[in-house]
Amino acid sequence: MTDPRDDEIRRRQKARAIIMALLLGAFVLLVYAITIAKMGMLR
């Protein structure tokens, strides 16, 4: 039988990992969009 505390630690780690992955993905897209916008302003 697993320790309920271990389950809670795993649940929190998993939730944070998913949020972090989503935020990093959003950040990459944002930097890409900023780059395109800046390049457009230079033309």
């Binding site: 505390r5 809670e8 630690i9 929190r12 780690q13 939730a15 944070r16 949020i19 944002l30 969009a33 900023i34 395109i36 916008a37 800046k38 457009g40 302003m41």
Partner: protein, 302 residues
């Protein structure tokens, strides 16, 4: 600073909801709105992607300042009913995580603002975070009843940052918007502190009602409302905004003044009998939203 009394379960990794709560999302909405209004009221447009990024940076900067505020004030928050359920005093988060989160978010928001918009906006954003954390939270809050008068400047920066992000400079209109929020902050917070006075007294925070009493606080609320209303209407006669904004600002400020006078006329000492104070506090939030909304509509109509 004393240590937090609540036991922190440091063995558990922080829940992301508690990290989000550190940023005070409800306060952030007003900051974002005034920042956006400052940006939209500017005479030049900004690329939508860069404008979105600048507003995101204002929101993240405000979140960082709030997280550092909660990190420093965890001992005070534990003593007040209104704040005892926050992640740090409730023991759901350890202080080091909150500190790292706040500092990291602050650096990230300022750097991103500098790279996406301009370094003037980034510098003002950094100044506002430092002002809120060092001048208000660390220096003033526990020492003087003038804490929110001077500290209110921190919350007045967003429209200036929004304007600077769009234009790259700061002119009279953003300075007036800064002045408006600066003068709005004392009546807003003093109305709140009147009906949560016992909380502040229990925590030893020298808010005006605790130090000078309810009567003096009510008088100060009414007195601050006058220059606040003048700052709100000023862009119209100065030719910086049109008649739509001017009439809206005058009408909204008149209602604010009437509510402030009702607070002045109230002599109740118990929170249950402080309906005028609660009404003024609620209206003051609506007032700022409506005023900045009117500024943007006025710009669209022009």
């Amino acid at each position: 600073m004393t240590t937090v009394t609540a036991t922190t379960d440091t063995a558990l990794p922080a829940d992301w909801r508690d990290l989000l709560a550190l940023t005070k999302p409800r306060v952030m909405s007003l900051v974002v709105f005034t920042g956006l209004a400052g940006m939209l009221a500017a005479p030049v447009g900004i690329h939508p992607v860069l404008g979105f990024t600048a507003i995101l940076c204002i929101a993240l900067g405000a979140g960082a300042a709030a997280a550092l505020n909660m990190w420093y004030e965890a001992d005070l928050d534990a003593l007040m009913k209104r704040t005892a359920g926050r992640p740090l005093p409730a023991g759901r988060l350890d202080r080091q995580t909150a500190l790292h989160f706040g500092v990291g978010l602050a650096f990230f928001s300022v750097l991103l603002m500098g790279l996406a918009a301009n370094w003037l906006a980034a510098t003002i954003l950094a100044a506002s975070i430092l002002f809120y954390v060092l001048v208000y939270t660390v220096w003033l809050k526990r020492r003087t009843p003038q804490n929110i008068v001077i500290g209110g400047a921190a919350g007045a920066f967003p429209p200036v940052i929004g304007w600077a992000a769009a234009t790259g400079d700061v002119t009279l209109l953003p300075v007036l918007l800064f002045t408006l929020i600066f003068l709005w902050t004392p009546p807003h917070f003093w109305a709140l502190s009147l009906f949560v006075r016992s909380d502040y007294a229990a925590a030893g925070v020298p808010m005006l009602p605790v130090v000078s009493g309810a009567r003096a606080t009510r008088r100060q609320i009414a007195l601050y409302t006058l220059p606040m209303a003048a700052a709100a209407v000023a862009p119209w006669p100065l030719g910086l905004a049109g008649a739509f904004y001017g009439v809206a600002a005058a009408a909204l400020s008149l209602v604010f003044l009437i509510l402030a006078l009702r607070v002045l006329a109230n002599s109740a000492g118990e929170p249950e009998a402080m309906k005028p104070e609660k009404q003024l506090f609620a209206y003051s939030i609506l007032y700022l939203f409506a005023l900045f909304g009117a500024l943007v509509v006025d710009k669209v109509l022009a």
